[in-house]
C-alpha cells in the first residue's frame, strides 16, 4: 500500500463556487471557497444539514462540477478533466465509503470488493489475493463468499471499506460512514479508518454529523452555509 506525503497541499480548493439552479430559483452552496488538506491527513468535515458537506464531497470525488474555481488533488486539476478522465482518476486514486454501504446485492462480499480491480489489468489470481488480504485487514477474513445482505450493518460497512481500499487509492472520501451504525460498530469502523490513515498513510476526508466520529480525525473543519465558520480543531 502506498503512502502519499507531499510538500504542497494534497487537496487544494481555490475560489470554488457552486450554485444549484431549479427553474428560476438559485441556491448558492459555496462562494469562493478555499481549502487545503495535506497528504496523509485525516480530516472530518462537520456542519448542519444544507451546509454543503455532501456537495464538497461530491466535488472532491469528481461527481459534481464547480461553477468556478480550481480543484486540485495530488497535483491533478479535477476541474479540467472530462467525464471519462474523472472516472479513470477515481478508479486509480479514490476510494469512497458511503453511509449506506452501497454494495451490489447480487454479488458476494468478495465480489463487491473485487469490483474496482476489474478496471485494472491484474490477473484473476492476483485480484483474489488482494481481495483476501483486504478482507483480512477489515476483519472479515473467510467471509468473502457471504452475501452482504446477510451481514450486519457494521460488517457491510467493513466490506465497503475493503472495496474502497482494495485498489490502493491515496484518498478516501467517507460520507457519514457511521451514520447507519450502532455505537460499537461505529467505533470499529472509526478505528479501522484511523488505522488506514496512521499505518497506511491514506488521506481521509470524512463528512459526519457525529462529534465522536469527528474525534477520530486529526482535524475537523466546520462548514455552515458554504463557508468554514471557525478555525479548525486539531486533535492533540
Amino acid at each position: 500500500m502506498t503512502t502519499l506525503k507531499t510538500e504542497s497541499p494534497f487537496i487544494a480548493l481555490s475560489g470554488v463556487s457552486k450554485t444549484y439552479r431549479t427553474g428560476n430559483e438559485s441556491l448558492p452552496i459555496f462562494t469562493n471557497l478555499d481549502m487545503t488538506i495535506q497528504g496523509g491527513d485525516f480530516v472530518a468535515v462537520m456542519g448542519p444539514s444544507g451546509s454543503g458537506k455532501s456537495t464538497l464531497l461530491n466535488l472532491l470525488a469528481g461527481i459534481d462540477h464547480a461553477d468556478t474555481g480550481d480543484i486540485q488533488i495530488a497535483g491533478q486539476r479535477l476541474d479540467h478533466m472530462g467525464e471519462a478522465a474523472r472516472a479513470a482518476w477515481r478508479a486509480h486514486h479514490l476510494g469512497i465509503v458511503f453511509q449506506f454501504y452501497n454494495l451490489l446485492p447480487m454479488l458476494t462480499a468478495a465480489e463487491n470488493v473485487e469490483l474496482p480491480l476489474l478496471l485494472k489489468p491484474i490477473p484473476a489470481s492476483v485480484r483474489r489475493e488482494r481481495v483476501a488480504k483486504v478482507l483480512d485487514l477489515v476483519g472479515l477474513g473467510g467471509r468473502g463468499k457471504q452475501n452482504p445482505t446477510r451481514m450486519s450493518g457494521g460488517q457491510q460497512q467493513r466490506v465497503s471499506i475493503a472495496r474502497a481500499i482494495v485498489a490502493d487509492p491515496s484518498l478516501l472520501l467517507c460520507d457519514e460512514p457511521t451514520g447507519d451504525l450502532d455505537r460499537k460498530s461505529a467505533d470499529d469502523v472509526l478505528a479501522m479508518l484511523g488505522y488506514l490513515n496512521r499505518e497506511l498513510g491514506k488521506t481521509i476526508v470524512m463528512v459526519t454529523h457525529d462529534p465522536e466520529a469527528a474525534n477520530a480525525a486529526n482535524r475537523t473543519l466546520h462548514l455552515d452555509k458554504g463557508v468554514f465558520v471557525e478555525n479548525e480543531q486539531v486533535a492533540a
Binding site: I63, E83, A87, R90, F98, N102, P105, M106, A110, L115
Partner: protein
C-alpha cells in the same frame, strides 16, 4: 470474478424475471427455427438447384409438350443432358395418402439430376432392370415404411392406362437419399417409357424436359435460347430453373415464404417490445447501482457495454435454447413435414440473436450511459 461473471449475475439478479425473459426469447427462436426449417426443407425451395432447368408448356404446367422437342433441345449448344419427364400423381392405399411419381429416362436422369438426388450407377441399373421398377426417395420410403423389393400400387388421379385402369403397379428397386438433408426426397422416380407406353392418352408427350447445361454455360442465358426455339410452334415453352419452378409452384397456393416471414417478424417485434420494456424497467431499478459503479471508476462507455452485453446474454441463452429445441423438433418430425434445420438456418438464427440482442439492449444501454451519478444517487 470477471466482467462476464458480473454481466451474468446482473442479467439473472432476479431469477424469475430473468428466466421468463429467457423463456420468451427461447419460444420466439423455436418458432423461427421451425419456420426457417420449413422453408429450408423439402417443402421449400432452398434445396432446389439454380443449375437445373425445366422446360414446360408456356400455357401452364398442366399442359403437355410433345416428346418430339427432345432432339431439338438435346442438339442445342450448351445443353449437357436432357430427360423427358412425365408426372403422375395418385394415392397409395388410403385416398388421402398422396404420392408423386416423376418418370424419366434412367440414364438421362443420372446425367441431369443424379448429383442432386444422390443417384448412383447401381441405382440406375436397378431402375433399368425392369420397366415397372422405381426408385423411392428416403423421406417417402421412411414415411410409408417401404423397402427395396416391395411392390406398391399407385392409383392415379388422372392418368389412365389404355385399358381404362388408373392403377399403376411398381416394384421398388432402390432408395435415394438426396445430396443433402434439405433435398426433397418425398417422391418416386419411375421410367418414362413404362408410363408413356401404357397410358391411354397424351402418349409421346412430356410434362417437362429436365436438363442440365454444360458446366461453362449460364442457365439464365440458356433458358431464353430454348424458349426461342419453340416461340413460333403450336406449344411454346417456358424454361425455368428448378428453384424458380418450385417457387412458382408453391406461390400458386400461397406465398409461403412471405407468410412465414410475416409470422416470424410479428413474433420478433412483439418479443423486442417485451424485452426492451422489461430491460428498461429493470434498469430503472438499478439506477442507483449504476451510479455506484460510476463512482468506483467504471466509465459510462463500459456501463453501456455491460448493459448491452446483459441483453445479449439473455438473447444468446434463450436463442440457443430455442434453436436447439427447433433442431430436436426437426429431427423428431415426420419426413413428410420436410423440416431441415441446417447450418445456414442456424447461422441466420445466430445472426438474428446478435442483432435482436443488440437492438433490444441499445435503449437501456444508452440510458445507463447517460445517467448522471448524482441523479442516480437521488433514486435511492
Amino acid at each position: 470474478m470477471t466482467f462476464l461473471g458480473l454481466i451474468r449475475k446482473s442479467a439473472v439478479r432476479k431469477p424469475l424475471r430473468g428466466s421468463l425473459l429467457i423463456v420468451s426469447v427461447a419460444m420466439a427462436f423455436l418458432i423461427y427455427g421451425l419456420t426457417a426449417s420449413f422453408i429450408a426443407g423439402s417443402q421449400g425451395t432452398a434445396a432446389a438447384s439454380d443449375d437445373l432447368l425445366g422446360v414446360m408448356n408456356a400455357a401452364g404446367r398442366a399442359q403437355p409438350l410433345p416428346l418430339a422437342y427432345l432432339p431439338r433441345i438435346t442438339e442445342l449448344q450448351g445443353v449437357a443432358a436432357v430427360s423427358p419427364i412425365t408426372r403422375l400423381r395418385g394415392s397409395v392405399g388410403d385416398a388421402r395418402n398422396v404420392v408423386a411419381v416423376s418418370a424419366g429416362n434412367p440414364d438421362k436422369l443420372l446425367a441431369v439430376s443424379g448429383k442432386e438426388l444422390g443417384l448412383t450407377n447401381a441405382m440406375v441399373d436397378a431402375l433399368d432392370d425392369g420397366r415397372d421398377k422405381v426408385l423411392v426417395g428416403r423421406a417417402l420410403a421412411q414415411a410409408q415404411g417401404w423397402s427395396i423389393d416391395d411392390t406398391l400400387t399407385v392409383t392415379a388421379f388422372r392418368t389412365r392406362k389404355a385399358d381404362g385402369s388408373r392403377d399403376w403397379r411398381f416394384e421398388i428397386a432402390g432408395i435415394f437419399d438426396g445430396k443433402s438433408p434439405s433435398t426433397d426426397t418425398y417422391f418416386i422416380l419411375a421410367q418414362y417409357d413404362y408410363i408413356n407406353n401404357a397410358r391411354g392418352k397424351n402418349r409421346d408427350t412430356v410434362s417437362t424436359f429436365a436438363l442440365r447445361p454444360e458446366p461453362d454455360v449460364s442457365p439464365q442465358q440458356l433458358a431464353p435460347r430454348i424458349d426461342a426455339l419453340f416461340a413460333n410452334s403450336a406449344a411454346p415453352t417456358r424454361t425455368l430453373s428448378e428453384k424458380q419452378f418450385l417457387s412458382a409452384f408453391l406461390s400458386q397456393y400461397a406465398d409461403v415464404k412471405r407468410v412465414v416471414t410475416l409470422v416470424v417478424s410479428v413474433s420478433f417485434v412483439t418479443l423486442l417490445m417485451i424485452v426492451v420494456n422489461t430491460l428498461v424497467f429493470a434498469l430503472r431499478e438499478r439506477r442507483f447501482e449504476i451510479g455506484v459503479l460510476k463512482v468506483l471508476g467504471f466509465r459510462s462507455s463500459r456501463i453501456m457495454m455491460m448493459v448491452l452485453a446483459e441483453a445479449l446474454f439473455v438473447f444468446l441463452v434463450g436463442g440457443t435454447i430455442g434453436i436447439c429445441l427447433a433442431k430436436l423438433a426437426s429431427l423428431a418430425a415426420p419426413p413428410a413435414l420436410g423440416l431441415v434445420l441446417d447450418t445456414n438456418v442456424a447461422l441466420r438464427a445466430f445472426a438474428l440473436i446478435f442483432l435482436l440482442g443488440l437492438t433490444s439492449g441499445a435503449l437501456p444501454a444508452l440510458s445507463a450511459m447517460r445517467t448522471p451519478i448524482l441523479s442516480a444517487f437521488r433514486t435511492r
